[in-house]
């Protein structure tokens, strides 16, 4: 079973609510789900959709084929019609005026039933659910059990009302609708999936940060990162996390650097435009060796670009942002479950090496929803790195030259110590200098950290076994579509594997060079126009990729998209 539902309509019509309910019902019924959110940068109107893919085996990306559309506006009836499979059905609210439409599609009284049976137009989500279940012949009792679980927290009355509305439309559809759907799920039983934690990338980053003892966040709202900031702020009182929406991104990073300098684990969330403003702060964090975590949920640029869409276009910018040279760490989680781990590691790495750590998400990663196994926060290890001894007899030196380049850290207020830092080149004690020998020592101190960092970072992962003829090269969120494409092609007998990077920089080259030498052809698959990661690989290793797959329309990569490009290149 692999079925995709597209819920479309105007902003403000409750598309998300319908999508969320469908996701919940399928997750509760034991299925794997993967949901993408496609919305315009406006509060009301337009054409937005939520697209839910449901399967009885694990799934990791959206696909192009749509089996069923629920349309709440005329635009939604026509918007995705070209992706509808043969036998696909469009369920649309019967109040929408539309041109002649094939009889197989279904004008359903969604609003009417919500109002008349549920007493509230907001019950339209339950009405839509009823129609979807009926059209696909999904067993109603299975959905009813799921609804019970989902709404039980809200009380018996809410459960009953939702079941009643869903059932009303379910029965009405069974009586009135004359079409047939490509999918008949009447024999479906409880699915095999036990993963009941529903997460977006943004939320996973927030949870990871909170589990990692984040104590300070200052940010400025910017799509698509804002939900991460909001998640943390909404739990700030419960967990005692200082949070501030600052006047701009310059202040957000500067304030976070201050909080970290004073000893609190700190982060900022932003998108590329906000990160542009943070660049001087990045340099200050680097020069003062103040640990900081920066989460950039990328969107297509330059400038305002496409505010609510996706791209992996900031990699090389973040790699070289700021004047001067210094160690930095860049991580790009592939999905929500890895994002939790990446967020917790980011704070440990920042503290351990006293460098800026940057997490690269993107709108697709940030907003898409996956059901994942329960996360055990108790397993999170916290490593605050080298602390200065409280017993020291010598005057404290914040930038003491050490073998590994990392100086024991102390915070203002610590007994018997004065902590001095400067954005200027400084002596070991933090006071400024222009001495060329000290300058050399301090640069070399920076550089000594890099091999230590490399030892700590995770190597890339190879999916599909070593020694394939074709290797796809991906980083971050493009993993899902590439992974599925590799699976499909390998099943067809194509010799293909996937080399995937989460820990991007400093670049671990060992497995990379091996896989490059094993493959006849390496194909870089990136959600950008210029294959930025392939350039990074070239820069660090001299190795070049043979082909590139690029997508830069702001919409997420799909397995089909990759396979079509590969086919054009003779790989199929």
């Amino acid at each position: 079973m692999d079925i995709t539902f597209n819920i479309g309509g105007e902003a403000g019509q409750g598309i998300d609510t319908i999508g969320d309910l469908l996701t919940q019902v399928f997750v509760q019924s034991g299925f794997y789900t993967f949901t993408i959110k496609d919305f315009m940068s406006r509060i009301r109107g337009g054409y937005n959709f939520s697209q839910i893919r449901v399967s009885d085996s694990p799934i990791h990306a959206p696909i192009d084929d749509i089996d069923l559309i629920v349309a709440l506006s005329h635009d939604a009836i026509v918007g995705k019609r070209n992706q509808l499979v043969d036998g696909g059905v469009i369920i649309f609210d019967d109040t929408i005026k539309t041109e002649e439409i094939d009889a197989c599609h279904y004008p359903a009284p969604l609003q009417k039933t919500a109002t008349e049976v549920g007493g509230n137009i907001r019950m339209m989500n339950a009405a839509a659910l009823g129609a979807v279940l009926a059209v696909t012949s999904f067993p109603f009792n299975l959905a009813e059990t799921a609804l019970n679980e989902i709404f039980l927290r809200k009380g018996r009355k809410v459960v009953d009302a939702n079941v009643e509305v869903a059932k009303a439309l379910y029965n009405l559809t069974k009586e009135n609708w004359i079409g047939t759907c490509a999918h008949d799920m009447s024999t479906v039983k409880m699915g095999p999936c036990k993963d009941r934690l529903i997460l977006t990338g943004n939320r996973a980053i927030a949870l990871g940060a909170m589990a990692a003892n984040l104590k300070w966040i200052s940010s400025y709202p910017m799509s698509p990162s804002t939900a991460c900031f909001q998640d943390i702020v909404s739990n700030a009182q419960r967990l005692k996390i200082g949070s501030l929406q600052t006047e701009d991104e310059i202040a957000s990073l500067a304030t976070a650097i201050g909080a970290s300098f004073a000893g609190a684990r700190s982060m900022v969330t932003t998108s590329g435009g906000g990160f542009s403003l943070m660049v001087e702060g990045l340099g200050l964090a680097a020069m003062t060796e103040t640990p900081i975590v920066i989460y950039n949920a990328q969107r297509p640029g330059p400038s305002t670009g496409l505010p609510t869409r996706t791209e992996q276009g900031d990699l090389l910018f973040m790699l070289t942002a700021s004047q001067g040279e210094f160690p930095r760490i860049m991580l790009a989680p592939k999905d929500p479950i890895e994002a939790f781990d990446v967020a917790t590691r980011a704070f440990n790495l920042a503290d351990k090496f006293q460098v800026p750590v940057m997490i690269l998400g993107d709108q697709y990663f940030s907003d898409s929803v996956k059901n994942v196994p329960r996360i055990d926060a108790g397993k999170v290890e916290i490593d605050r790195g080298k602390r200065a001894s409280t017993m020291a007899s010598e005057p404290y030196e914040r930038f003491k030259l050490t073998e590994d380049g990392v100086s024991p850290i102390a915070f203002p207020g610590d007994q018997g110590k004065f902590v001095v830092a400067s954005g200027n080149v400084h002596l070991e004690n933090g006071h400024i200098t222009e001495d060329p020998d000290i300058r050399n020592s301090m640069v070399e101190k920076f550089m000594r950290k890099i091999p230590q960092i490399l030892k700590t970072l995770n190597p890339p992962q190879v999916f599909g076994g070593r020694g394939a003829e074709t290797t796809l090269l991906t980083w971050g969120s493009t993993w899902g579509a590439a992974y599925e494409a590799v699976k499909v092609l390998a099943d067809k007998g194509v010799s293909i594997n996937l080399l995937h990077f989460c820990d991007l920089f400093p670049l671990k080259t060992h497995i990379l060079t091996e896989v490059f030498s094993e493959a006849k052809g390496v194909v870089a698959v990136e959600q950008n126009a210029t294959s930025q990661f392939a350039k990074l690989v070239l820069m660090e290793t001299g190795l070049t990729v043979d082909k590139r797959v690029n997508k830069y329309d702001g919409r997420p990569m799909t397995p089909r998209f990759i396979m079509d490009r590969l086919k054009e290149g003779g790989i199929s």
Partner: protein
């Protein structure tokens, strides 16, 4: 009491002979020494410019930051550990230019900082270009020829008052006794305290020199000013003509930013451990 010896600066002072910064440093040492706060609880946060080198000339915790961003860094330090006494030393070129937005917003947040502006009307360290507080018509290497600085100066006292600062004063580097008293008041104040410090740049500013300030300043407190009236304070702030008022313009008790944030009871985020069980509960609440 912290002694002068304990505060002795780690580095040799690089300011020009006759620089107004000397008076500010001497006053600062006095104010810090007598405040009754342990020496290791002070943090100086500075920007970029001659005055912002002050952390290297006094023995305290310090971070010498970026041009214009010192206030933003300082508020983070303060909020991570409310025990700290956070002092911001910045110049007019720095905080009244790139940093003006941060100043206004920190003022309206009433974040508990003492901001000391070393205000000399020129960009000293970059060799004398007109600063945001240079008088209209001030001639420098970057002002349009003939006309001089083609705009009115930033009136920082007025700006701070309208932004909502809860302690606003003006001192003069040549009146150390007065300046020490203002600094001490600013440090004791709970909330955003700003002291605009008139400070001649002997090398670059031929207009705003010692003689000028000695002849043109007068004390608000000796002339019956009501420090509890924001409106009266704003009026005084705009009476910046032939006579420049010094002293306290305004003082008010108001809730500080820290009181509204989710800080631990001891005010020390830096040592606080998140209850991992609470995080697990947040995760588990998301499970269907």
């Amino acid at each position: 009491m912290i002694t002068k010896e304990q505060l002795e600066g780690p580095q040799k002072i690089t300011w020009c002979t006759g620089c107004g910064n000397f008076g500010i440093l001497a006053s600062l040492k006095n104010a810090v020494g007598e405040l009754g706060v342990p020496q290791n609880q002070f943090v100086i946060v500075s920007g970029i410019g001659c005055g912002s080198k002050i952390p290297h000339y006094i023995n305290l915790n310090a971070i010498h930051t970026l041009h214009g961003r010192a206030i933003a860094v300082a508020q983070g330090i303060h909020l991570a550990n409310l025990d700290l006494q956070v002092l911001v030393h910045v110049g007019d070129g720095d905080t009244l230019g790139e940093g003006l937005g941060h100043l206004m917003h920190a003022a309206r947040r009433n974040v508990n900082l003492s901001v000391f502006i070393h205000n000399n009307g020129v960009m000293g360290l970059t060799k004398g270009q007109f600063s945001p507080s240079a008088p209209r018509g001030y001639v420098s290497s970057t002002s349009p020829p003939e006309a001089g600085a083609p705009m009115n100066p930033v009136n920082v006292v007025a700006y701070a008052l309208t932004a909502g600062a809860t302690f606003v004063a003006r001192g003069f580097s040549g009146d150390q006794k007065g300046l020490v008293a203002l600094m001490r008041k600013a440090m004791k104040h709970k909330g955003f305290a700003l002291v605009d410090i008139l400070q001649p740049c002997q090398t670059w500013n031929r207009q705003l020199n010692w003689k000028f300030y000695n002849e043109h300043t007068y004390s608000l407190q000796e002339n019956g000013h009501d420090i509890n009236s924001r409106i009266a304070a704003i009026e005084k702030a705009f009476s910046n003509g032939d006579k420049i008022p010094t002293g306290v313009f305004y003082e008010e008790k108001a809730p500080t930013l820290a009181e509204s944030l989710a800080l631990p009871p001891d005010g020390r985020l830096r040592d606080h451990q998140t209850d991992i069980k609470a995080v697990q509960a947040i995760i588990d609440e998301l499970i269907l």
